[in-house]
């Protein structure tokens, strides 16, 4: 067990006992990751903020039920986020476009010439559109792998699967994504 894990366990124990400062430490540690996950699943910043707030309110309300021996706290938060995003998609059955403004800004800041930046933005747009055609489970995997840069073992814990199952799902996801991109090029 690493020092960070020990610290997190101690903080969690305090948070479960109702210590607000301990909960705010956990909040600071995970708010970026949860926001990013929701942002890429919903496609816009306003809904991402709204759902992120709901995730942490729900976590705070149910923290006494959290069982530290079961899943890591991060996995627990991701599961809350995943369920809330699923409800959000159910309520907003209309398909939403992925907001690209932030990515576009990052591309321009890399110092690319404007024409190249435009091509890159278009490519990114196509890629994100292809990702959004995947099943929620595959989208989750892509976000955890490429946005959060998590290992297969970490993703397995969050998604409640074995590492082998994640590896297999990952290859199927890449294949599906490639087919979807080829479809959009044609």
């Amino acid at each position: 067990m690493t020092e960070t894990e020990i610290n997190e366990d101690a903080t969690l124990t305090k948070a479960v006992q109702g210590d607000a400062d301990a909960f705010s430490l956990l909040y600071e540690r995970y708010v970026n990751r949860i926001y990013n996950y929701i942002y890429y699943r919903t496609g816009n910043a306003n809904d991402a903020e709204d759902l992120t707030a709901r995730v942490f309110h729900r976590a705070l309300g149910h923290i006494q039920r959290y069982n530290n021996k079961g899943v890591p706290f991060s996995a627990w938060l991701y599961r809350i986020a995943h369920n809330l995003v699923a409800n959000w998609h159910r309520d907003n059955s209309r398909k939403q476009e992925v907001a690209l403004e932030d990515n576009a800004i990052q591309l321009v800041h890399r110092g690319d010439p404007p024409e190249l930046a435009l091509v890159n933005t278009q490519e990114t747009e196509n890629l994100l559109r292809a990702i959004r055609t995947l099943s929620p489970e595959r989208q989750q995997l892509v976000i955890l792998k490429f946005v959060q840069r998590l290992s297969n073992a970490e993703i397995a814990v969050i998604m409640g699967r074995s590492e082998g199952a994640i590896k297999s799902l990952y290859h199927r996801t890449l294949l599906a994504l490639r087919e979807e991109i080829e479809k959009t090029i044609r």
Partner: protein, 97 residues
């Protein structure tokens, strides 16, 4: 011949997978969360009043209902008594000597 073709096809898939992975890594950048949102949510979370569930006991409910009933019955009784005394006084004043 078949084995060579199969190996070539496998190699093509591996290359395509790694190219797609590169594209995904460069396209999917973590976005920066609005710091104002982070701070305001933190304040809302830490200053949120604790939810207290008020438990209403059966005894308290019985007392409230009993008091209500008693007040109602008492008011009706007072009205009836007032009417009775008023009628008696009226009958007394009109009675022949």
């Amino acid at each position: 011949m078949f084995a060579a073709q199969s190996f070539a096809s496998q190699q093509r898939f591996v290359t395509e997978d790694s190219m797609l992975e590169q594209r995904l890594f460069s396209a999917l950048n973590p976005v920066q969360v609005n710091p104002e949102f982070v701070d305001s949510l933190k304040v809302r979370l830490t200053s949120a009043p604790g939810v207290t569930v008020e438990r209403r006991t059966d005894l308290a409910a019985a007392v409230v209902i009993g008091l209500g009933l008693f007040t109602g019955v008492f008011a009706v009784w007072m009205l009836l008594m007032a009417r009775y005394f008023f009628r008696r006084r009226k009958a007394g004043s009109t009675a022949p000597d």
